[in-house]
Symmetry: C2
Amino acid sequence: MDSATALALTIAGGRTPIALHFSYRQRTERRERRSFDALCDFYAIKSRYTFDLGFFADIGASALTDLSIDVPQYADRAAAQGIPVTYVPFRNGIFLSIAAAVAEKESADEIVIGAVEEDSSGYPDCRERFLREMQTAIGLGVRDTTKIAINAPLIHLSKEQIVREALRLNVPLRLTWSCYQDGEKACGVCESCRLRLKGFTLANAVDPIAYFSN
Amino acid sequence: MDSATALALTIAGGRTPIALHFSYRQRTERRERRSFDALCDFYAIKSRYTFDLGFFADIGASALTDLSIDVPQYADRAAAQGIPVTYVPFRNGIFLSIAAAVAEKESADEIVIGAVEEDSSGYPDCRERFLREMQTAIGLGVRDTTKIAINAPLIHLSKEQIVREALRLNVPLRLTWSCYQDGEKACGVCESCRLRLKGFTLANAVDPIAYFSN
């Protein structure tokens, strides 16, 4: 939902996006890829990169990429402190680095990322300070003539605001996927589902995707 | 040679390294992997990660990963200006991001990289300023309790100094590979071979690896 809304904002701003998808052996790899393809088709995006980052499974250390670690339900999560087990070490750092390489090759001047800092799971690589610092690092690690900004248009939005923004932009939310579990329907009980559903409730809207329970 | 010398310095400093190897569909992928394995065996390194980054070929844009772009000979390179076609967009940024994920998982407090700023090919991602900025970005993108320094012990050394350092530390230079071409012997004429050979000459030493010509 966040990526799709960031994409819609980019297109609404008159820009021509190159779409990047990362498969990193996350539980929902196939489901997310389906959403990526469907969203790219919907927005008629011609230039697409799909990256197979199988090495994330070798690093492991996250419930999203290590199937032996259970995805916690929101109730358990709320009782816990700190960064959840769904945190994938430096995931956005790796994604942004690869995006920087693509941007330099394609002479793109902006990387758009749907990261959300507040109203999120507290992942350190979703903080605006981190994104700003990565932009500086990328600027020093590419050709001096290459200028790449990192744009995170949702960074300070709540999930409610993201839902409202998505509805305003007619984002096809039925094509998106947020659940951490790989079911035919969304589980409705993981933290990602809970944050998404709370956003729809507060925005007085109905989530068009199917849930097992909620 | 640079990685091996950085590794030897790390071990000489009393540290226990985790060795990382990146295959990124570079021309010399198999040859470099052979060197990695041999060096790890020589130094009896137990913890090793070998990452298959096949996606670099999808990005392309470099003579090292795009076989349709010829590796220039040093004579041509010297006549040219700026960053050579062997530059792989943001390569070290991607390597360092993956190393950061491993470091966070393994509770390692340092990433050691054999990057050389002077007496090198002028790649932007080998500059000390970039490495410093990446260290800051990584610090903001991982758990607040994770502290990861980037250590580039060769960054200000000339190739001559690196050869002298390697000899002082008894680095098994016969096991290393610098050539950009994938031959049974090193080509002796690409920029990487030329820089290496110049280092040996200035250090009054003989390179133990075999060359087709030099």
